[in-house]
Structure formats: structure tokens, C-alpha cells
């Protein structure tokens, strides 16, 4: 049975202020701290459009290859809900910002139906249970009025995996454009429409996080398939994804479907940009991730898989990589270290490279030390760890470790010592148990505090043992 999935993605734009008022959008612990009569819908308040939000939304639309409408208006979408201060949402219905775009993900083209601007509602907390069992709700309107870009796709996805991959591509793209903070909770929320051949369309509302999107879709496809296989019907309905149990269930609340009764927003006006203004905004679009991968591969001649890892982790890491390339010519080496050890450290700490004190020069210095044999690769890994957590320059770290370059004669001395102290292992080796060598190398490294190169130690030990 074929599957059709369409997504409606809501992305919070990281403008400084809200869409229709000057309240700050930055996160705060204090509920209802960033509010005013406008975003709380007090009588007599009126909206005033944030121009930057329009510019950001146009950049997004352009990155998604949409046709941007030069003239647009806003509309009132009328429904009642405790998180909606005016019991209507200012959005775009007729005459949205942009239409008819596409994104290519892993060789498949996903069509974008429309991109428009709207205001975020507040945040609900269900007290005494979940959405179906709570006694009452608490509402924090800090989020109310934050600019959202809504991206609606055609039902071009055929699996949960495709949807997830698209969302990852979209998320990185938005981060690169600089209009989106993917670390912020709730900055990207997804509604999905799923239909399995033979059944009707089911809407799953408000899923946060790509992993959950894939899970929700997989669950839903399975659920629908089973119903249809069993001879049942899948009717049009709205379902809610439970983050904890990872299943979808119906939110049965009313006997009637909300009638949004759209009217053009009469407190706002007509907005129109001329060709020159549009061109200027388009020109602000920076290099997108897929473009950057291609360029890095070609410019630095590094393998595509490494380039992808670096580019898609975060823009800052790709910037870091390219900056390093200014100071060291072994680009492949830089790429390897950035994409593996450095990345591992950052992930372990859960931070961005921007949040560390490491510098491209410092990082490259360490790579140079490895290249000219001053330190071993193994030691390098150790130094990276400390560099990331403390920010101290690699040379300083090396000094503090008290490690000096091991001279050949000193190495021979230590190897002799090790062989003397570990007769049994030495004999094991001589009797044919070659793995005993690893043990002995280990002891040499311990004694030299890792500053000996394992290969050299192996060579010397073997020489001594076999003589």
C-alpha cells in the first residue's frame, strides 16, 4: 500500500523582537515576563509588523526556491483556545508570502506548496495530568507573538525516514541562513498529514524533534495499514502524538469542526516590495549547506562524507574547518581530525565549537606537532580533549603533562627496563605468543606517559626480543 505524507513545519525566526510588538523574543525563565498589551491581546492594542521578520521569511522562501509574492496581506484565523490571546491568530490565508518551491534531498525532489508568516501562540501547561486528563491549564505568553514561518509541503514523502531527512536538511539550511536557532526548544514544530492507499488523510499535530517525527509517522503508517488490511476504514481525523508513549491517539473533543471564518486582518495594511528591494534581500542569502559541501569538496579535495559531517554538524564547525585550512595545507588531515576527534569532544560536552576557547591556529599547531613527530597521534587525541575543555594552548598542555620528546637512546633504555621487569611476557613472546608484544608496548607507553610512539616502541622491543 503506497503512502503519502505531507508536512506543515512551523519555524521560529530568531528576530530580536516579536512579529507584531517590541517584546523581546529571547528565552527567559520567568513566565509572562516578555509580554505587553499587544501580544496579550488587551483591548485597544494593535499590531505593528516587524520588517525583519518579513525579510527573514523572504530569505527562507528563496532558499526553498519559491516564487515570492511582491504584494501580500495578513488574515485573521478565528478559533478559540486558551493559548491564543485574541482567540484569533494573525496569519496569511489569501495572498501568502511565497508559493511553489522545492528542495532536493538525497536525490528526491520535495515540492513546497507555500511559505508564510504567522504569530506563535502561548505555551500551555496541563496541570494535574496530560492534555486529556488535566484539571486546568497554566499559560505562559512569552512565546505568544514570536514570528513563525510556516512551510507547507506537498504530500511527496513516502516514509518516515524521508520526512526526517528532509527536516534535517531544512534545519541545517535555516541555521546557515541565520534565521533560526535549532538549539532552542520548540523552535521547529511539525504537523504531518498521512494517508495510506485506501484510507483517508489523518493529521498528526504538534510533533517536536526529527526523531519523534519519524517515529510518529512510522507508528501511524503501521496503524493505518493494519486497519485497512483487517477490512476496516481509515477516516479523516486529527490525532495527537504522545512523546512519552510514542503513539498517536485521537483528541476527541467537539462534535463540530472549527470554522476559521477568515477575514483580511483589518488592523494591518497591504505590504508591497519592489523588485530592487526583493533582489537586495535575495542577495543576503548566504551559501546553503548543500552548496557548501560541494565547494569544500572541490576546493580542499577532501572526501564528501567528511565534508558532509563537518557542514551538517553546524555552520560554526564548517567555518572552523575552513579557517584551519588557512594555516595548514594538509586539508584531509584537518578534515579527519575535525570530523572525528574534535566532533566527538564537542558532542560529549554537548556544545558548539563556538562555545569552546579553541582557535584554528591552536588546533593546527597541534596537527603540525603530530606531523613532525613531536607528539604521537594518540597523544594528540588526549591533548584535543584537554584543549576543548580548558582552552589552554596545546603546547602549554604538553608542557603541563611533563612530556618531552623521547630520544632514541632513552627509548632503548626504557625498553630494556620493561623487558627486564616483565620476563614472563618477554618469554611468552619468544615462545610464539605475538600478542604479548602489545602488552609490553603498553608498559613502555605507561612509563613514558604516552610520549613514546607505539610504532617505534614496537620496533625496538621486537629487535631486542628477537636478538
Amino acid at each position: 500500500m503506497s503512502v503519502k505524507i505531507g508536512l506543515e513545519i512551523h519555524v521560529q525566526l530568531n528576530t530580536k523582537t516579536k512579529l507584531f510588538c517590541r517584546c523581546p523574543t529571547k528565552e527567559t525563565e520567568a513566565p509572562n515576563e516578555h509580554t505587553c498589551p499587544v501580544c496579550l491581546g488587551f483591548p485597544g492594542s494593535k499590531p505593528m509588523l516587524n520588517k525583519k521578520a518579513v525579510e527573514y521569511a523572504i530569505m527562507v522562501a528563496r532558499a526553498l526556491n519559491c516564487k515570492v509574492n511582491r504584494t501580500f496581506i495578513f488574515s485573521r484565523k478565528n478559533y478559540f483556545y486558551p493559548d491564543l490571546p485574541k482567540n484569533f491568530q494573525i496569519t496569511q490565508y489569501e495572498f501568502p508570502l511565497a508559493v511553489d518551491g522545492f528542495v532536493d534531498v538525497n536525490g528526491k525532489r520535495i515540492r513546497i506548496k507555500r511559505v508564510h508568516l504567522e504569530e506563535d501562540p502561548g505555551r500551555l501547561i496541563h496541570v494535574g495530568g496530560d492534555i486529556t486528563t488535566a484539571n486546568y491549564v497554566l499559560v505562559d505568553y512569552n512565546r505568544s507573538g514570536i514570528p513563525l514561518v510556516e512551510i507547507v509541503t506537498e504530500p511527496d514523502f513516502e516514509s518516515g525516514k524521508e520526512a526526517r531527512e528532509f527536516l534535517q536538511e531544512l534545519s541545517t539550511m535555516l541555521e546557515y541562513i541565520g534565521v533560526f536557532d535549532k538549539e532552542r526548544e520548540g523552535s521547529m514544530r511539525v504537523d504531518a498529514n498521512v494517508s495510506v492507499e485506501g484510507g483517508e488523510r489523518v493529521e498528526i499535530k504538534n510533533i517536536s524533534g526529527f526523531a519523534d517525527v519519524e517515529k510518529a509517522l512510522n507508528y501511524e503508517i503501521l496503524r493505518q495499514r493494519m486497519i485497512l488490511k483487517g477490512g476496516g476504514k481509515v477516516g479523516r481525523e486529527t490525532r495527537h502524538f504522545d512523546e512519552k508513549t510514542k503513539v498517536t491517539h485521537v483528541l476527541r473533543r467537539k462534535e463540530f469542526e472549527e470554522d476559521y471564518g477568515y477575514i483580511p486582518e483589518p488592523d494591518l495594511v497591504v505590504y508591497s516590495l519592489d523588485e530592487a528591494e526583493l533582489k537586495e534581500i535575495f542577495a543576503r542569502l548566504p551559501e546553503l549547506p548543500s552548496q557548501r559541501v560541494r565547494r569544500i569538496v572541490s576546493r580542499y579535495s577532501i572526501p564528501e562524507n567528511l565534508a558532509r559531517v563537518i557542514v551538517y554538524k553546524e555552520k560554526a564547525l564548517a567555518d572552523f574547518f575552513e579557517e584551519c585550512c588557512k594555516y595548514f595545507e594538509d586539508y584531509v588531515e584537518i578534515a579527519k581530525w575535525v570530523a572525528t576527534d574534535l566532533l566527538k569532544c564537542l558532542n560529549w560536552h554537548g556544545i558548539s565549537v563556538k562555545e569552546t576557547k579553541i582557535t584554528p591556529q591552536g588546533f593546527v599547531e597541534m596537527l603540525k606537532m603530530i606531523k613532525n613527530g613531536e607528539i604521537t597521534a594518540r597523544l594528540g587525541k588526549e591533548i584535543i580533549k584537554q584543549y576543548v575543555s580548558t582552552g589552554k594552548h596545546p603546547r602549554k598542555i604538553l608542557e603541563e603533562m611533563g612530556i618531552e620528546r623521547i630520544e632514541e637512546s632513552k627509548l632503548r633504555e626504557i625498553c630494556e627496563e620493561v623487558l627486564r621487569e616483565n620476563e614472563k611476557a618477554a618469554n611468552d613472546y619468544k615462545n610464539g605468543r605475538k600478542e604479548a608484544l602489545q602488552f609490553l608496548i603498553g608498559i613502555v607507553l605507561k612509563k613514558t606517559k604516552g610520549s613514546a610512539d607505539p610504532k617505534s616502541a614496537a620496533k625496538v622491543l621486537r629487535e631486542m626480543l628477537e636478538s
Binding site: M48, P82, A134
Partner: protein, 99 residues
């Protein structure tokens, strides 16, 4: 087959539906009374169909303004948002449950 909509009139069941959309709980007497009154009003409005305006674009504002927008600059509004309500709990607004 889709039901053809008849304009300029409303019956009790349709009005009942509207009260739900508008979140306005009416008594049976009110529904009866309003149905009668609104039908009279709709009847009096019917003549607008003769206005011959189909070719025109709808007009939202009689005086048209373009591009009223502002810079992305913060301004903190000094106020006590909870001053006009008793439904609050620890700096949150309190509201009725969803289901």
C-alpha cells in the same frame, strides 16, 4: 450530492451551530427569538445582491495605507499583566482545561 446553500435566511439548527463556533451559550428561547430576528435582518439585507459588484475586488480599507512596518528593536513595556484577572497562579495565567 452537495446541498445547495440558500442565502439570506437562517434556521434554528444552523444558528445553533453558529453559537458553537462563536462560543456563545444560548437558551432555547433565545435561539428561537434570535432566529426570528436574524431572519428579518437577513431579509432586509438581501437587496445587496442587486448591487452588481461581482467584477470588483473586495476593499478592506476605504483609505489605503501601504507598508506600515517597524525596525526590529526591543522595548520593554512596564506593567503588571495580572492586574485585571483573578485567574492566575505564580506568574502564569490560569485557564480552563482542554478536554
Amino acid at each position: 450530492m452537495e446541498e445547495k446553500i440558500e442565502y439570506w435566511k437562517i434556521d434554528e439548527s444552523l444558528l445553533s451551530h453558529v453559537t458553537k463556533v462563536a462560543r456563545l451559550a444560548l437558551s432555547e428561547e433565545e435561539i428561537e427569538k434570535f432566529t426570528k430576528e436574524l431572519n428579518e435582518v437577513l431579509e432586509s439585507f438581501k437587496k445587496i445582491d442587486e448591487a452588481n459588484v461581482d467584477e470588483l475586488q473586495p476593499m478592506v480599507h476605504a483609505v489605503e495605507v501601504k507598508n506600515a512596518w517597524r525596525e526590529d528593536e526591543e522595548e520593554k513595556f512596564q506593567w503588571e499583566p495580572f492586574a485585571n484577572t483573578e485567574h492566575k497562579e505564580e506568574r502564569y495565567f490560569k485557564g480552563p482545561r482542554i478536554v
